[in-house]
Amino acid sequence: MRRCLIALLGALLLLAAPARAQEKKVLKFGWAQDPQTLSVFLDYDEEDFRVWAINYDLLVNFSPDNLGPAPGIAESWDVSDDKKTVTFHLIKGAKWSDGEPITSKDVKFSLDVLGGNGALFTGYTDNVTSVTTPDAETVVVKTKKPDARIVGGLFLYIIPEHIWGKQSVKSLTTTYKPQMPMVGSGPYVATEFKRNRIIRMEPNPNFRGPKPKFDELQWIKYGSDDAVERALTLGEIDFITEVQPPSFERLGKTKGIKTVKAASPSFTELAFNLCSKEHCPDAKFNPAIQDKTVRQAIAFAVDRDRINEISTRNTAFTGHGILPNFYKDFYAEPEGDLDYPYDPDRAREMLDAAGWKPGDGGIRQKGDQKLSFNLYVRSESQENTQDARLVKEMAAEIGVEFKVQVVSVDKLTELTTQKTDGKPAPDFDTFIWGWGGDPYDPSTLLQLITTSQIGGSSDSFYSNPEYDRLFDEQAGEYDIEKRKPIVKRLVEISQEDLPYLVLTVDPYLQAYRTDALSGVELSCPKPNGDVYCEQVSYAPWATLGPPQPGEEGALSSSSSDDDGGSNGLLFVVIALAAVIVVLLIVLFLRRRRDDDALEV
């Protein structure tokens, strides 16, 4: 009986060991979260963008050099003199991956329907009054007032009308899932999507650009981030798109793996409650926080470099104002004092001069006001919590007390967005949170502190008519040279008044195997962008390719998979057999012993 069992197991083992030959050039990405449906109307995760950015074009693409406007579905455009009409001339003779022609009908559909209903894509066409298509190769967009986003920031993928247009809007916004292959115009299109398992992308036969060098891109789902990292070190995958900060250094030191730290349009800030009585009659806060001198002193007392070093273990970048350096064209690093270099002595002097004298426990006060503030932070973010504790430590040095309150994100949302009688009534002094902007247009971040966003996305409730005026001006300015100085002025004003003290700029952290990828040129923006312009452009796929001959290491490493697989299997079999054998022996022996009577 036992012999039969072992023979059977042996036969199964033979059947189970698959031999695999890989001739296809495959690049394997690993991630711990994957998209839910890949529908541009439904999904709202970062992961989707990584696939969409390769699958689709925008009307105007982002250039990999500086993220500025580059030809997309539109190869050129004219802005009218009153800046309220933009005429796009579409590329001629282009086809979708399924052979259908790309026409102005697709653009109109995308701008109208996706721009009106997509979870992540509403808002871009807020100012658009009409989209007309005089012919198959022209699209005319008219706006209420000049809106520079129409050329530099219309982050709306152009999707095929002949596929998506067949569904009702209700279906698109509730249950419709895209069919595979996902028809698109980028270098690769998704051909298989098994949720929680794998996404496959294959070259688009009708792609109008240079033929991409890989035969297949795979996005493989793992159970956790550290499983992904282990898979990279073992060679099971070739690329990690989101390396966790604690592992970044370790991976960088691993042989055969290269890590990349690139700037992104996101930051972490310390926000102050600046709501005026007019806007928020029922807000609750310590009035001392609205004293500009106090905020500026705090800014001098907070060593942002050190926060970056400890909180993010140097995987992020020190913050310099509300516009991260990702915005290459518009980035204006604040100069001199406006950058608030670390200077606690200066901070103490400022507070002394303004009459804030240290009182009980070293906390400064003036009259009946004390420099003691609450500092809310989300429990979901270890980094933010760390930032809060560091800020508290540093502020204590100059006599400012922060009482750190770790709360859930729901609670923090409540505190910052609650309303009384329809008017905002925020209940906080300060908090730490983050924001992310769009790739090119600085308005997405600059608008966070405009008066019009009070009651919307403004959580500092800052209101400055001068700022608002300049903001509107640059938002409608299509000429970059004219726009830059206005943006610079806006950053200066925000640094002067400090509704936000931007602590760190978030990074894109990537890692890849050097034996799996060649042709790497960091871009988006050059020279310190990331490896494949994640979420923003498909341009790098023209040069990214398999390793050159001679570097042929384990390209897709299915061999190590097999070894791992059959090794483990062998152990299972042996372990099971051992257990069975032991059980049989024990039972046999016990039978002998039990024949003797036992006392109870």
Partner: protein
């Protein structure tokens, strides 16, 4: 209590529990570092500086372990007290007065006993945003049924005893009888059961914290395991981060369980009638 102290197992379990209570009270004084202080020494194995190594943000594991005892013990005991009071009240009132009250209580008890405990606690904790108080409330409110049932059956037996009849004959009010005659006799049973509920509550708090429903501003053993797991400690082989908190939970619950067992065996021989 003397009999418990006489037994070796009893002494051992009481000593362990006392040790943990001591740590719970003095943990923050004993901790060598601030448990929340981070450093650049991330996921480092045990060393002279850090006897139990460091966490994924460089905090000292030993300090977190010592301070985390407080949450586990406070929640465990508080929830058990609530559960005991609630269960005893329901058991006493239902058992004594009988009738519709008893039938209603019985139905509730049945329901709470059938419904899977952790899923129920999870749902309640998620709906009320997690905090120390919520944890205590949620665990207390879902664990009373066992006590309730036991107390009720004890009350039913006591109700028929001679001294109760005599008291009634003398004109004593119902509440007087409950307070003076029934409750004291039911107390040993309630205590014995509560000891076990403490164990259950500590495990429940750890489980809820592990699932992310613990108090966000306090470290507990459960949150330590959760943080370790989310930070990839298993793959990094960071056993010093994962094993100690779980071990503390195990040892404490083991000691409490052992105490309960000893108590039952030695203190209350009558309990053995009720069946194992």
């Amino acid at each position: 209590m003397n009999r418990v102290l006489e037994s070796k197992r009893g002494r051992f379990s009481l000593a362990v529990i006392a040790l943990f209570v001591f740590i719970a009270i003095f943990g923050s004084l004993l901790a060598p570092y601030d448990p929340y202080a981070s450093s650049t020494d991330v996921l480092a194995p045990p060393s002279r500086d850090h006897l139990l190594g460091t966490t994924e943000v460089g905090s000292d594991v030993l300090s977190q372990l010592l301070v985390g005892a407080r949450v586990s013990i406070v929640v465990g005991f508080a929830a058990a007290v609530i559960s005991a009071v609630l269960g005893a009240a329901v058991g006493l009132i239902g058992g004594y007065f009988g009738g519709l009250t008893d039938k209603t209580f019985d139905a509730f008890e049945n329901w709470f006993l059938v419904i899977p405990q952790l899923p129920l606690m999870v749902v309640l904790a998620r709906l009320l945003n997690p905090s120390l108080g919520v944890l205590i409330l949620v665990i207390g409110l879902t664990s009373w049924a066992g006590t309730g049932r036991i107390v009720r059956s004890q009350v039913l037996t006591l109700k028929e005893r001679a001294f109760v009849e005599r008291a009634r004959a003398l004109g004593a009010s119902d509440w007087h009888i409950i307070r003076r005659h029934i409750l004291p006799n039911a107390l040993p049973l309630i205590f014995a059961n509560t000891v076990l509920i403490v164990a259950v509550a500590i495990l429940a708090e750890a489980g809820l914290s592990f699932l992310g429903l613990g108090d966000p501003s306090n470290i507990s053993w459960g949150t330590m395991i959760e943080n370790g797991f989310s930070a990839g400690a298993p793959s990094a082989g960071a056993w010093w981060y994962l094993i100690p908190p779980g071990l503390c939970i195990t040892v404490l619950v083991f000691a409490i369980g052992l105490l309960g067992y000893v108590w039952e065996q030695h203190i209350n021989p009558r309990l053995q009638e009720v069946g194992e």
